[in-house]
Symmetry: C3
Subunit: 135 residues, 3 copies
């Protein structure tokens, strides 16, 4: 089963999408299986991160923004805006696809884990995540 999920993040940063994925897994009705998420973009990515303390999320965003700075004199790919080349690099340092087993009919996420869309552009528009659910 392959389903497309369309999400428009309100801006740059981490956006929890766990509650958009869980119903798809429930509806699939598999007791055991594998759920794979794939993002069809090179300037936004997918990660699993802590869903509890918002300070962890903020620190993670700030740390990566410092590592992959805008306006780095190294960049030659600058026509699409100062946030574009950093977005491609951040995409590569994080993940384009994530696979989560389905156990007892549910995603086998740890108690503190959430699934996040990481929008790396200031205004990335609508993003498409393709989800495969299989046995």
């Amino acid at each position: 089963m392959v389903i497309s999920l369309h999400i428009r993040a309100p801006g740059q940063g981490l956006h929890n999408i766990t509650d958009k994925v869980e119903p798809l897994v429930k509806n699939a009705g598999f007791i055991d299986g594998l759920c794979t998420l794939f993002i069809k973009h090179t300037s936004a990515s997918l990660i699993i991160q802590e869903n509890a303390d918002p300070s962890a999320k903020r620190d993670l965003e700030a740390w990566l923004n410092r590592l992959v700075a805008e306006n780095d004199p190294l960049y030659t790919h600058t026509l699409e805006g100062s946030d574009d080349m950093p977005a491609h690099i951040k995409n590569v340092l994080t993940s384009t696809s994530i696979s989560i087993p389905i156990q007892n009919g549910k995603l086998a996420l740890g108690i503190w884990q959430g699934i996040y869309l990481w929008e790396h552009r200031y205004s990335g528009g609508k993003r498409e995540i393709v989800i495969h659910i299989g046995h």
Copy 2:
């Protein structure tokens, strides 16, 4: 088939778990297939790395420890210890899930590849890795 593997790493660093995963694949009895590992934590991760020269493992650990330093003045998420925020960042820079094809009844690992649990906390306790084996 979905199986949970529980591992307590003796401390921070890379721990080879290949010999804990291989028997599960053998027992599954699939000639061809896919084995996916998922770690249910946000302060430990999974990687595939060289299993031969221990100096490569040590350099990798030292390099990442320097890149993602403890006590960075940027951190606000500090209540859980100086190793906690670096652990979340290291988790995101490495992998939460890895998929390895099964070929001729065995994991299709390269001759120098091992599967590693990377414990990012000094004392992370028991970690759970959920493993899906499918056709």
Copy 3:
């Protein structure tokens, strides 16, 4: 279905392999499914990146080469050449496996996405990518 793909990259850097993977998916004849690529090496990796503007590719390579420098005094694993330890680190910061859903008989890649083999050695030789295609 599990297939091995052998590729010899002409040198260090990103090499687009999308047109080597697409025919395998087409031949498999699955309407819906999942295609997983796994690279059997620890000094080369797989990423999904922009296939349009070559400047994005060049900047990405230059940025990672600066972050993971050769001849870092931290390295003790130096016997295999100055490009070897950086190659292992770059491998860990990028991906060893990537899973792409198959939708309507094709890889569900975004319009700007290509699949790349990232050779991290100057002369890596022939690389083997194992590809699993399943329902």
